[in-house]
């Protein structure tokens, strides 16, 4: 046996050498190129990356496996210390514009932050980052009133070290991926409804697989108008507080992986939702609320799944690399065998391809999609501090934000987006989600195969990765649904005469 297994190569590094994190340029050369032409953006991106690396290395990596094990035994466990640290690093408000009290960073900063966290634990990336899905849903309603309610609460709590979770309630027992597709939404068997009453709405229904649903302070609930015809135009988004009478959490789901972020069933039994917690419907005659809204959300959130997947792919590569450094195969050091090096290179290659794919989607979404307005509204008006914190000024700002004029201005901005632009953003999001999640799954499978029986053991990390990664092909619409959407966004558009879009 040993006659053909030779130590062909020198060790990869000196004995005891640790794997170092890449510099910003080494990890994101595409973004570094863009940053060269925009110094301010460059600084934001690099600083976000360094913060994410520091947070992940100090607080995520050391306890990722322990949290996974703990939450397998007790799904109600909440890693309080980690969440407090996340507040210090402002991870709950990274994607909010400065005029709403957020960090004012370019949206791309959020995505690279979560790729880095997912490189150490995608469950924790989901726990901290899933707020972004709810934010996007509210943002897509182009109702600054709803956005203001959420951002104010999240940002103020964050300053006080209190993590605030926003869950997004879409999936129901009878409606899964179809509820996350702009065209199929009308056919989905969504039964949650909101009936108009004096001063608000009465909400009834059940949502399942809701990330952070068990401890979210606010739930963004996709629902239909009970008195409507159940068409996309009857769809609405309600913001429901966790303490509301009639709201209950019947159970936490028993998921295979991503244990750090639990999924819950959320039940609404005659829950009263005040008027001001409803994100207004778009009354545009050119496009329905649901179509533009959902399509715009998916362009962003699917690119986000691409970022998380890339983190997992990178993690699989590093896990296998560490294992190969420390272990033998048939009596020879793994790292010194050429075939093992080839496998390691393939793992690194897939992670790099995934990264380029989701960065491409991000650039598309930043140019033509939902976050393009965010990308140009980052700067807060320069006011003296005494005026910034003046209650009258703050109240006035809130009134302006929640007023009809601002709503109309937001809608106007939204209508500037052409259907072609929307399809570019969403189509690229589809590709990022599918490609990156598939590359990540392949990396996890191959990493374990390389490691052999050692890959099956929890303490070596790879088995957790395989359990975690499998969800990435499912949420934000299954990969198959994403690809059918891609046909609509990109393939059909290539014809000079189109039946419908």
């Amino acid at each position: 046996m040993n006659s053909f297994l030779i130590n062909e190569c020198a060790p990869l590094a000196k004995l005891g050498a640790e794997i170092q994190e890449w510099s910003f340029l080494e990890r994101f050369p595409e973004l570094a190129f863009i940053a060269k032409s925009n110094n301010s953006l460059g600084k934001q991106l690099e600083q976000s990356y360094l913060n994410a690396v520091e947070f992940s290395e100090r607080y995520v990596a050391p306890q990722a496996l322990a949290i996974d094990k703990k939450m397998t035994e007790d799904p109600h466990y909440v890693p309080e210390d980690l969440l407090k640290k996340a507040c210090e690093y402002k991870l709950f408000s990274t994607m909010f514009p400065a005029f709403l009290g957020g960090s004012g960073l370019h949206p791309i900063c959020t995505f690279i932050t979560y790729e880095v966290i997912a490189t150490h634990c995608v469950g924790i990336a989901n726990l901290l980052g899933v707020n972004g899905l709810g934010i996007c849903c509210v943002l897509a309603s182009f109702d600054p009133r709803g956005l203001s309610v959420i951002t104010k609460e999240i940002c103020e709590n964050e300053k006080n070290g209190i993590p605030t979770f926003l869950s997004t309630c879409v999936t129901e027992p009878g409606a899964g991926s179809d509820a996350e597709d702009a065209d199929e939404f009308a056919n989905a068997q969504l039964t949650t409804t909101a009936k108009k009453v004096d001063g608000g709405y009465i909400l009834n229904g059940t949502k399942i697989f809701i990330s952070n649903g068990g401890h979210a302070q606010i739930h963004a609930v996709m629902t239909f108008d009970a008195d409507g015809a159940h068409t996309p135009d009857d769809q609405m988004l309600l913001l429901v507080r966790s303490g509301s009478k009639g709201l209950s959490i019947p159970r936490l789901e028993n998921k295979m992986g991503q244990k750090a972020c639990h999924a819950a069933e959320v039940h609404f039994d005659n829950v009263f939702v005040p008027e001001n917690m409803m994100c207004r419907k778009d009354e545009s005659s050119t496009s329905s609320y649901s179509y533009t809204g959902i399509a715009n959300v998916l362009g962003v959130t699917r690119a986000a799944v691409g970022a998380w997947s890339t983190g997992v792919a990178e993690n699989a590569y590093r896990t296998a690399l560490r294992y190969a450094r420390d272990n033998d195969f048939l009596g020879q050091p793994m790292e010194q065998q050429q075939w093992v090096r080839l496998e390691l290179a393939q793992l690194a290659r897939r992670a790099q391809v995934a990264r380029s794919t989701y960065i491409g989607a991000l650039l598309a979404v930043s140019t033509t999609g939902l976050i393009s307005p965010l990308a140009i509204t980052q700067k807060e008006p320069k006011l003296p501090d005494w005026l910034k914190h003046n209650n009258t000024v703050r109240n006035l700002r809130e009134k302006v934000l929640s007023g009809d004029l601002t709503h109309r201005a937001f809608k106007f901005m939204a209508q500037l987006q052409t259907s072609a632009e929307r399809d570019i953003a969403t189509g690229y999001g589809d590709v990022a989600k599918v490609s990156c999640s598939e590359l990540a799954l392949e990396n996890c499978q191959k990493a374990i195969t390389l490691m052999g029986k050692g890959g099956l053991r929890h303490e070596n990390g790879a088995e957790k990765l395989l359990r975690d990664v499998r969800l990435l092909q499912i949420y934000e619409g299954t990969n198959q649904v994403n690809m059918l959407d891609y046909v609509k966004r990109r393939v059909i558009r290539q014809f000079d005469t189109q039946l419908s879009l």
């Binding site: 899964g176 068997q189 697989f209 052999g452 099956l456 053991r457 499912i474 990969n479 059918l484």
Partner: protein, 361 residues
């Protein structure tokens, strides 16, 4: 095995599993349940399923054990593995003219014959063999009463140390056994680590010392690929059935899932692959001789099945969507078990190298 016997066997195993769903559930919990494992041993031992290979009359019944493994795997791959492993142990003990054990036997089922010599250090002191070091992931070690540990003897042939695992015996023998390791799959059939601190083995402890015995061991391990293929086939079968049944009951986009051609394609491709897996082990289990190792071609097919199954069961999850990721329909367990099964009988690359080695040299 004739067709009638096969059908009776299938029905018996299936009925037993349906009657013992609580026991299966207890075994498959993330935490080791020794009580459930002992109950399982008593139940299956009474049925004679744990000593098929100890009985002179049925020792050559390769297809029978494969059938039992496949049928159990439809309900619980862990139990299927335990049954197969116990029978492999019985075959080794019978070859050494020793009695069938009254408890589970631990075997290093995650290592191929070619990997055994790299797991632990051996030193010859007089007539005794002294062993030191760790042998990781020995199947059933935490619940076993006996361990059959391969030992590289002074003449470089492999024998087995027959070690009793009672608390007093382990202290005497200078060995430590870890609690069940947290593994990806097959959690009902727990693995543990063995730490040998100068474990001294006399000639009496070593069984199967002759060259003939070594051939027997090599052939047994080689033929075991058939049983593991059968277990994989059972996992694929159950994942397919669950996906098909789910697709005929649930709605998506306004119609039953199975009415989407995309789902039909997924199911049709799954059916093709799981049928091929089944056909492979059934065909080969009828043809191989108990006295020979399997052919290089069959080893290739076994390795291909190991590589294929995690992707098949991944599709089994995908057809169910989010539900498939939750424990309710146990598709996630099949996915985990499938990946764990990839490493039964050794590292796939080690097996591929050894399969090719004779040709290269």
């Amino acid at each position: 095995m004739d067709n009638e016997t096969k059908l009776i066997l299938q029905k018996s195993v299936n009925d037993w599993c349906l009657d013992n769903t609580d026991l299966i559930q207890q075994l498959e919990q993330p935490k080791q349940n020794s009580v459930a494992a002992n109950t399982l041993f008593d139940e299956l031992n009474q049925l004679g399923l744990l000593s098929i290979f100890h009985d002179e009359e049925t020792r050559s019944e390769i297809s029978m054990l494969a059938e039992v493994g496949c049928q159990f795997a439809i309900h619980s791959a862990s139990i299927a593995l335990m049954v197969v492993q116990q029978n492999l142990a019985c075959a080794l003990l019978a070859q050494a003219k020793l009695e069938a054990p009254l408890g589970w036997v631990a075997l290093p089922l995650y290592d191929s014959v070619y990997e055994w010599s790299y797991q632990i250090q051996y030193e010859q002191k007089g007539k005794n063999t002294i062993t030191n070091g760790n042998w990781l992931s020995i199947s059933l070690l935490p619940i076993a009463t006996t361990l059959l540990l391969p030992i590289q003897a002074k003449d470089k042939t492999t024998s087995f140390a027959h070690i009793s695992l009672s608390a007093t015996a382990t202290k005497k023998n200078n060995i430590e056994i870890s609690p069940a390791i947290t593994a990806l799959g097959l959690r009902g059939a727990p693995s543990g680590d063995l730490k040998a601190n100068g474990l001294s083995l006399s000639e009496d402890d070593l069984i199967l010392n002759s060259t003939k015995d070594e051939d027997f061991v090599t052939n047994l391990w080689s033929q075991a690929e058939i049983y593991i293929m059968a277990i994989r086939s059972g996992i694929a079968e159950s994942s397919y059935r669950t996906a098909r049944d789910y697709a005929t009951e649930r709605y998506q986009g306004g119609k039953i899932i199975i009415e989407h051609s995309l789902i039909r394609k997924l199911l049709a491709d799954f059916y093709r692959e799981k049928s091929a897996l089944e056909e492979n082990w059934r065909t080969f289990s009828q043809t191989i001789s108990p006295d020979l190792s399997i052919s290089d071609g069959l080893m290739g097919i076994a390795l291909a099945s190991a590589e294929k199954l995690p992707w098949l069961t991944s599709d089994g999850i995908q057809i169910l969507g989010g539900v498939g990721y939750m424990s309710d329909f146990i598709q996630e367990r099949r996915f985990r078990d499938a990946k764990q099964c990839e490493f039964l009988l050794g590292h796939p690359q080690a097996k591929a190298f050894s399969n090719w080695h004779a040709d290269a040299s």
